[in-house]
């Protein structure tokens, strides 16, 4: 590697930083004023890429070969995406500003699903190649190495937009109102500022920035349907690293992350003491590593300040519900019924197959509930522990050749180990920061699994994970998978009982204490972080067990197990059932799994359909499902 090639890589990093900053600045602005973490922001970026492509197609015959056509297309898609943002704000977000934070995330995630399928419908599944920009084709020499002209132009755009935004925010009344609303929107409204108009315009500007970033990205990257999730997770990381709501912070963070990535590529594979390390492989996780390091050192990001008390979904658990054990009888009856089911349903063998899924996801949801409800920690990466359990078991089985039962016992330790490491970092944060850090960790797990071909089979995953012969044997008079079904049922039932018991024990009480009032808990000697960390470990182990059981029921696993989509599925299950009742996650998991199984398989636009259902849930119950998620209020209201 020469100095010149390093420099060109770093300059390329700077060009990437510009579009990354534009997307993140939009996300940051929107969050600052509306307090909504817009999960659909990556989708708006993607729509920007597609509209720029279409606008380019339209304009090419009218303005052939001129640079003006390209920039006009960029402008057009910025405006179109801004208008789309305004529309989304008026139709959806406006209705959920008072809803719990987690509901807002789910709603915007639902929007992301709908937008993705919208793009599929409008532009089809094929990649669409962007144009070369007239006047900016070719390269300029940097120390003798070629550097794309277009990238050089991009480098200038980032600081330009930052400067412009800064001027607007400090010199105009609109900017002052935006900054005031960032701190206290209710007060701004009480002073006579029409907040609805302010919010719509901020949302439009934020969306427009995402659209602009997308349009500018088109010459570097073809339009495709896989752009949304990476864009949103990159933007999240930048915003969180920079500090929520801080534009200069976002700019710094975008630079830092892009340069670290560029440096990883430039370094290539390095031999050190006979050990070779491929730095380019690090690019997938580099940003998350940067984020983890920054957040541990500065919990509110590079330029962030401690946010005002985050509204928590962790509502009041009814005292009697946590203390007593209501309805022991119905649950006992249900378990007995489920034990008999393989014989009762011998005629429809698929029933017990679906129910194994239901059991696995019940435990998965219950373990997520464990840290989310009583713990008040909203994990957005719970699939990591599920996946680590599954892969742990698979690796024990494949690599060591030990029997399946050992894999079943040791696999959950994969989830435990993940929770032990990630939990230590995560409990230091709260609210959105915690959610994003957990998301980042699950992305790290995903990319490690995806890349470590030798151990995990990479994108192909691992196959041939069948239960021991005695668990696959045909039980007389029962469905085909009866033996494994019963094993799963028993494991899940015991694990759920243990989790309940732990919640009723002093540890569970301490966990709730830390959620209700960390200040009070610390001042009566409770080490809140230690309690939360331990809770992470318990939940990680349980999720790991769920993953193990799931892996053996399918016979094969792939990195999809750890995908962010599965973490979101877990959240939907918990919310569907309600975070107040201990039975909630079980009911939610059952309902969600059955729904997805019946409706999800045969329909092209199933993502959009899921999204619409989620939106309906959130919009029809803006304060939460049937009052199950009552917002927490202080006991005193004068």
């Amino acid at each position: 590697m020469t100095l010149a090639s390093l420099l060109v890589q770093l300059l390329g990093g700077l060009a990437g930083a510009s579009t990354l900053f534009l997307t993140s600045a939009g996300l940051s602005l929107i969050f600052g004023v509306t307090r909504v973490v817009n999960f659909a922001h990556g989708s708006l970026f993607m729509v920007g890429v597609y509209t720029a492509w279409t606008a380019g197609q339209w304009l090419r015959p009218i303005l052939p070969g001129s640079a003006g056509g390209f920039w006009l297309a960029v402008l057009l898609s910025t405006v179109v995406v801004a208008a789309l943002g305004a529309l989304l704000e008026v139709l959806i977000l406006r209705r959920i500003y008072r809803a719990p934070e987690l509901f807002q995330l789910l709603a915007t995630f639902a929007v992301a699903l709908v937008l993705r399928d919208g793009c599929l419908w409008l532009w089809g599944p094929e990649d669409l190649l962007g144009p070369r920009v007239p006047g900016l084709t070719g390269a300029i020499p940097v120390l003798g190495m070629p550097f794309p002209r277009y990238d050089a132009a991009l480098i200038a755009i980032g600081p330009l937009v930052l400067g412009l935004l800064h001027l607007v925010l400090t010199r105009t009344r609109f900017g002052i109102l935006v900054r005031a609303a960032t701190q206290d929107r209710e007060m701004v409204s009480a002073l006579g500022v029409a907040e609805s108009r302010l919010f719509t315009s901020v949302f439009a500007i934020g969306a427009g920035l995402a659209g602009l970033a997308g349009a500018l990205q088109l010459p570097r990257e073809p339009a495709n349907l896989g752009l949304d999730l990476p864009a949103i997770s990159d933007a999240f990381v930048v915003v969180v690293v920079g500090g929520l709501g801080s534009l200069p912070g976002a700019f710094l963070a975008a630079l830092l992350i892009s340069l670290v990535k560029a440096a990883c590529i430039a370094l290539g594979t390095v031999e050190l003491g006979g050990f070779s390390f491929a730095f380019p492989r690090l690019t997938l996780v580099a940003e998350f590593l940067v984020m983890a390091i920054v957040l541990v050192m500065r919990p509110y990001g590079l330029m962030g300040r401690a946010a005002a008390a985050p509204r928590s979904l962790a509502t009041t658990l009814p005292a009697e519900n946590a203390a007593g054990a209501p309805g022991r009888w119905p649950w006992g009856l249900l378990v007995v019924g489920l034990i008999l089911l393989p014989w009762l349903a011998a005629g429809s063998p698929y029933t017990t197959v679906v129910l194994v899924d239901v059991f696995c996801f019940s435990l998965f949801a219950m373990s997520l509930f464990f840290i989310m409800g009583p713990g008040g920690m909203h994990s957005f990466g719970h699939a990591a522990y599920f996946g680590l359990g599954a892969y742990g078991a698979a690796i024990v089985l494949k690599a060591s050749g030990w029997p399946m039962l050992w894999a079943l016992l040791l696999g959950p330790l994969g989830g435990f180990a993940g929770a032990l490491i990630f939990g230590w970092f995560s409990v230091r944060l709260s609210g959105v920061y915690l959610a994003m850090l957990t998301l980042a960790f699950s992305q790290i797990v995903w990319s490690i699994i995806y890349q470590w071909d030798d151990l995990t089979g990479g994108s192909n995953g691992l196959t041939g994970l069948w239960p021991a012969p005695w668990l696959s044997a045909q039980v007389p008079g029962a469905t085909a998978n009866a033996a494994y079904y019963l094993l799963t049922l028993i494991c899940v039932a015991i694990a759920v009982l243990v989790l309940r018991r732990v919640l009723d024990a002093p540890f569970g009480l301490a966990l709730r204490a830390g959620r209700d009032s960390p200040q009070r808990a610390e001042s009566i000697g409770i080490n809140v972080h230690a309690v939360q960390w331990a809770a992470f470990c318990v939940a990680g182990t349980a999720a790991g067990l769920a993953g193990v059981l799931y892996a053996f029921s399918k016979g094969s696993i792939s990195p999809d197990l750890v995908h962010v989509g599965r973490s979101i599925d877990g959240l939907v299950m918990v919310l569907l059932g309600g975070v107040e009742a201990l039975a909630g996650p079980l009911i939610g998991a059952a309902a969600f799994t059955l729904l997805q199984d019946t409706a999800g398989r045969s329909f092209d636009y199933w993502r959009a359909a899921t999204g619409v259902v989620m939106l309906l849930i959130v919009l029809v119950f803006p304060q939460g499902l049937a009052g199950l998620f009552r917002m927490r209020r202080r006991p005193s209201t004068t």
Partner: protein, 265 residues
């Protein structure tokens, strides 16, 4: 009169000794060289205008904020412990309890669970994963609730109580580990006059029975005058006066910086 006050403080054993305490936030000196002592069994009021550094002092004693300079020693001078550098948890384990301006209780729990939580923590039983919590330390918790007059409300969710009762719950929680010193941050904020007097009378009775000292901040002068043994006045981060209620009341600097005419409070 002042001589008498000095005599009475000297005759007590010192429980908490604060020396040269200083703290600045981003270049602003919030507290600069504060010295005072709390005697054993004493109720000491820390008063002063908003932003005078009262909360900062509280948070430094409590371990929430680390001072830039100075020492905070707990216990009589012969074998005292330095509190600077300890976490709030450690400070609590040494016997310093605290109540907050806006009563901090565990909102999802019942009244008795709030107290049980403190007792469980005191007994170092937080990491018990199996035995149900509701059966543990029940009798002792009921005794404490009886002392603050809430035995009948023990099983109610704390969220359903009136604010005055929530304050009493917090007091029971704060007394659960038999503290040597209780820090009370504006204990009567947001309460009606009669409630204020009742809460402070209760506090005084309980701490006297237990030999606990109290350091409290307060804006309501009737409470300070009725319940404080001694007063320390802070202004702009410095102690501008300290002594008996009567002495401080007549101090012209205190009138100018804090009391005004005293007509409205």
């Amino acid at each position: 009169m002042t001589g008498q006050a000095t005599h009475s403080t000297l005759s007590r054993t010192v429980l908490l000794s604060v020396r040269g305490l200083a703290k600045s936030f981003g270049g602003v000196q919030a507290v600069r060289g504060v010295d005072f002592e709390v005697g054993a069994g004493e109720l000491l009021a820390l008063i002063g205008p908003n932003g005078a550094g009262k909360s900062t002092c509280f948070n430094m004693i409590n371990g929430q904020i680390r001072p830039d300079q100075g020492s905070i020693r707990l216990g009589n001078p012969d074998h005292s412990k330095e509190l600077v550098g300890l976490t709030p948890r450690k400070v609590w384990r040494l016997g310093v309890g605290r109540t907050f301006q806006i009563a901090a209780v565990f909102g999802s729990m019942s009244v008795i669970e709030n107290v049980q939580m403190a007792l469980l923590s005191h007994a170092r039983e937080l990491h018990e994963f199996w035995r149900p919590a509701r059966a543990q330390h029940r009798a002792q918790a009921l005794e404490l609730l009886d002392a603050v007059g809430l035995a009948d409300q023990a099983t109610l969710p704390v969220a359903t109580l009136a604010y005055g009762q929530v304050k009493a719950v917090e007091l029971a929680v704060a007394l659960a580990n038999q503290p040597r010193l209780l820090l009370m941050d504006e204990p009567t904020a947001g309460m009606a006059p009669a409630e204020r007097v009742a809460l402070m009378a209760l506090t005084r009775r309980l701490v006297t029975e237990r030999g606990t000292s109290v350091l409290f901040t307060e804006h309501s002068m009737d409470v300070v005058f009725a319940f404080a043994d001694r007063v320390v006045v802070l202004a702009r981060g410095e102690v501008i006066a300290q002594g008996s209620v009567t002495a401080v009341r007549q101090d012209p600097r205190v009138r100018e910086a804090y009391f005004g005419s005293g007509r409205l409070t």
